[in-house]
Symmetry: C2
Subunit: 651 residues, 2 copies
């Protein structure tokens, strides 16, 4: 892939980017602040830069006059990098060395762990749980009256060493006609058992040779968002992905209000049917989008938290919210997708990820499986931040987990302009240390309409680093900027003025938002601390952190440490696994090994109820500061803050 060098003046920072990178994003990546309120749609016209060398595509809007253009001015947010560049950032305030040093820092994002399909193949692990076999059966005649299914089973035994097969009734119903459509040339679909003691099922039969067409769906059912992915089991490739809001949202934002709704007459059935409706919409979307024949989908793997799982399967969730918080089951049997109302062929088996406890669900188990955490020697901490946050600590020998009452701040809950990571969400941010003007980068580069999880972390961290908010999240009341103001008795920072947004309202970050954020991050950090203490390890023993969550793109790790969300650790030991739940569901589709191992993993995983762990509350209270009451547990953050404060005082 073509790469380009960009040199930013007057900061003298160099960065290497891929061809066609957006120039505003490149600047952010390099830690260069450029005023940009409108998220990248070219509306505010503030992100003017001068291209001194090299060339960009676009970058010109009516915000630039002829004269500007001739001088080399472009709008960074609309500029596409196509060559090496030297870019001059016009600094409107007087800038000296000191200011440059308190500029926002270059992004430090985690390595992204993706499925390494070639590696899987090499290790012989590319063995999907569903397999297709093509056969040309001899036709019956006067001497050979073998019943159709008996013929099938005996040939599978004779030529493919398949024995102890279970043939589902739905297959038996198809066999007689399918056999005779193409002269007893048929393809059977087998589902491998999840343990050695169980049997292989024949779940489908098709006429002719269809072995090239074998697909799986991986599905993550989040409280807020549901994501589906279509996977080609022949090539191992992902063909389509689609997300949508979980329609259950209309019946309650979080799992507790959903359970309360499910307790009403007809409520459980209603919640079941609306989530199924959403899933069917997603399935339709990924099938239509990839142009495959839906009849060739053989399996769907579903991961969700405990409440989502029980609602999907129509299992009364009421006892999940009542002490002592007991879920219905750990394991769920393999079921027929159509039995729960999914619009998939009646042969499609649905595998539902097992759960650990009422608040550590199948999404977390999927993350543990998909990330490979359960197979590693290294002591690993998995932090999955979704509508709530769950943590897992351990390695291949042992695993401990806990749910943190973090709440949905990272998915937008309790944040006035909070939103999930979707088009128009501010996902990256910096702030001018002198003018306090913002640089907003939104998902898909459109005008902002809200703030997603990763944006929120960066905002709070940046403002805290620059002293715009203090260590309990309160704005400095004395700063000279219109952006910080009081409204209805609450201080807030205006991220984008209403004319720059999609929603015709100012997009702001309030002190209440920050308070909620601090509570959320405090719950996660103190949860990690408590879990370590309970199993008798130190933070410093942790060899790697897997960060999972749907908060848009990658989290800035340094910022996450600045706010005290995650313990201080070398950034290269942090691996972002994205949507862990979806990752696990996808891995289960590709290799039956995961489905076999998961039962053992659930047995191995010890659940800790933080609310019943006496030391937890103290740890939580101590974590309600930026980064922490005890700044010494964040030595690097402490050092950097001290350095910056010294610099700042010089300005």
């Amino acid at each position: 892939m073509t790469e380009h060098n960009i040199f930013f003046k007057p900061f003298n920072r160099k960065i290497v980017v891929h061809d066609k990178e957006n120039l505003l994003r490149a600047a952010m990546e390099a830690g260069i602040h450029i005023n940009a309120s409108c998220g990248g749609e070219g509306v505010c016209g503030k992100c003017r830069v001068i291209i001194e060398k090299g060339d960009v595509e676009d970058g010109i809007t009516e915000k630039l006059d002829k004269n500007d253009i001739e001088q080399g001015y472009r709008l960074a947010c609309r500029s596409i990098v196509r060559s090496d560049l030297v870019v001059q950032i016009p600094v409107e305030s007087s800038v000296d060395e000191s200011v440059l040093n308190i500029q926002s820092t270059p992004r430090v994002t985690a390595r992204m762990q993706k499925i390494d399909f070639e590696d899987l193949k090499e290790k012989g692990l590319f063995v999907p749980p569903v397999e297709k076999i093509y056969m040309e059966l001899p036709e019956p005649d006067a001497q050979d009256h073998l019943p159709d299914v008996t013929r099938l089973v005996s040939y599978l035994y004779q030529y493919h060493k398949e024995h102890g097969l279970v043939v589902d009734l739905s297959v038996i119903r198809k066999v007689p006609d399918i056999f005779r459509q193409k002269g007893f040339k048929i393809t059977v679909t087998l589902v491998r058992p999840i343990n050695e003691k169980s049997k292989t099922h024949i779940i489908n039969i098709q006429s002719g040779d269809t072995t090239d067409y074998n697909y799986a769906v991986a599905l993550d059912i989040g409280t807020t968002t549901i994501t589906g992915k279509l996977i080609d089991l022949f090539t191992g490739k992902s063909l389509a992905e689609y997300s949508d809001f979980n329609s259950q949202i209309s019946y309650g934002e979080d799992v507790i209000t959903r359970i309360m709704y499910a307790e009403k007459p007809g409520g459980l059935k209603k919640l079941h049917s609306v989530v199924v409706k959403t899933i069917n919409k997603i399935i339709k979307n990924i099938v239509d989008g990839s142009g495959i024949d839906i009849d060739h989908i053989s399996t769907i793997t579903i991961a969700g938290n405990t409440v989502m799982t029980q609602l999907l399967l129509m299992v009364n969730p009421t006892y999940i919210r009542r002490s002592p918080y007991v879920p219905a089951s750990t394991l769920y049997p393999q079921i027929n997708a159509s039995d729960i109302g999914l619009h998939l062929g009646d042969h499609v088996t649905a595998l539902v990820y097992p759960v650990i406890s009422s608040y550590v669900g199948g999404d977390i188990v999927a993350g543990v499986m998909g990330s490979g955490m359960y197979r590693t020697d290294k002591l690993t901490l998995l932090i999955d931040i979704g509508t709530n946050a769950e943590i897992v600590l351990g390695n291949k020998d042992w695993l401990a987990c806990a749910a943190c009452s973090a709440g949905p701040a990272f998915e937008g809950g309790g944040i006035e302009f909070g939103m999930r990571a979707a088009k128009g969400a501010i996902e990256d941010f910096s702030i001018d240390p002198v003018t306090f003007e913002p640089m907003n980068i939104t998902i898909d580069g459109v005008r902002p309409k809200g703030i997603c999880g990763s944006g929120l972390i960066i905002m709070v961290a940046s403002m805290f680093e620059l002293g715009i908010i203090n260590n309990i999240g309160k704005f400095d009341r004395d700063l000279d900027t219109l952006r910080i103001r009081e409204r209805n008795g609450v201080y807030e920072y205006v991220l984008a003025w209403k004319e720059e947004t999609q929603i015709d309202r100012d997009v702001v970050l309030t002190e209440i938002d920050i308070e909620n954020f601090i509570r959320a991050k405090g719950a996660i950090y103190s949860g990690c601390q408590t879990l370590c203490e309970e199993v008798g390890v130190l933070f410093s023993d942790v060899k790697q952190i897997f960060l999972a969550g749907r908060f848009g793109s990658y989290v800035d790790l340094e910022k996450a440490m600045v706010v005290g969300l995650i313990p201080e650790i070398e950034p290269d030991k942090i691996i972002y696994i994205g949507n862990g739940s979806l990752l696990g569901a996808e891995m289960s589709s590709l290799t039956n090994r995961i489905r076999r191992d998961v039962v053992e993993v659930t047995k191995k995983m010890t659940n800790f109820e933080l609310s019943e762990t006496p030391s937890y509350m103290d740890k939580y209270m101590a974590a309600l500061f930026l980064p922490h009451t005890d700044i010494d547990v964040f030595p690097k953050v402490k050092a950097r803050l001290e350095f910056r404060n010294r610099k700042k005082n010089h300005v």
Copy 2:
């Protein structure tokens, strides 16, 4: 049970009967002919007898005047035996010794094989496939958050050594609430696997201790009749039985016309739904009749011929009637009863008996299993006569089977007044050798409306023995009786005049009926001959015959040999097993051994297609006589006929 001696004059025959036996039936049993057209309802008034000693209940109708009654006259068909009796039969024609000797013979019926429950228990075989276990689980608390199902499974493992359990989703759905209804005191229902390699399923859970209430349904789906039986799995007793016509009859009398209907658009679904409707009616009837709670039924075992099985399961039967006549499958998986529309709890598992070939179905396999034929050392011939006839030959080491194209004569098909064994069917018969007046005994002693299988055999045999019909089934045109007449060019015998019937028409037996009967019995006999020849045994090697079928009460064995339906064998080697299909279904409910063994049995059973066996047609043609072209294969019948003919010529 009290018994009484009856002495019949002037025939000097003695018989011992149970208290409350009907006197007409007692006479028939003893081989005494009494004119009786009306089947036992006292309408014809012909069965007048004089009670010389002892006493009967009833027996008096307006057909007897005061004088008659004083002289001791009673109507035999209305008389209930309550003491030892001396009964004088008024013989209206002149009677000498010779006539007495050609009177009808005493009934020789086969031993009836019933389920010997105590024997089953003693042998340790009373192990129903479904079992209930009561448990008092510890309640979860702050220290013990085990998920409900995990709690259940681990306690079953710990205290009942149950492992590898599969918990169905329907059970998981019930668990949370059921656990908490009676403080974690619960009863689980387990279904044992049909083989060692498979797993035990938890199919139901109920609150409190319900171990005393565990029921099974055994169901025989015949082409004509469906019978259901409710079985108490705690005591082993049968609680209720109910039969009804298979409503599919409206769509075709036999399996071929049903298949043709199934080939029409929507036809298969229609036939499926109407048979399910009949079954549901039967289930309702036996449940209501026994007063049990339907939720305590745990399993249903279903046996039917191949076409009935495929129609029930909605598997296209079209290839069954097309060469080379291949059924869809031998084995069917255990399914959920509610999945095929049965009105039983959603936990109820349905076990469908495996089939052998297109024309040897699950009903026959059930007969082989239920009769114990598959476990015996003795070479056994099983003849099952239903809408068609199937035969099985073999023992515990090998089994061979064949379907005979007998047609439905024994269930009333092709017989003008033919009917199944139901109220009003003539099931026993004799004929006066001099006056040719009939003695009809009907099921439930009501006025006749037709002839069932056992009645038909006895009629043809009796008439043949007395020379009223010849060995090709034609009536003697010269006999002096109004009962034999020509109608529309066909000779017939009037069994009952219309005023004596329920249907306001004469009930007759025509030469066409007899022709059809001869074809049916010929097909069965020649089928048995062919099967023996194919496997290389002689009729005389056969150590016992199991006779199965729904033809009302028991068949008169001697008469069955007289017509050449079954080979000549000592009557005590013939065992009547009744409805073999229902017997097998019932046995499967009581002992899982049967369900385990049946898979092996189906593998062992060799099917012969008679239509493709060259020697069959010759044998069939030779069997189209009474009893057979070669009378020497029926030496005893031959001897008796010769003796009777000599006697008759003396009269």
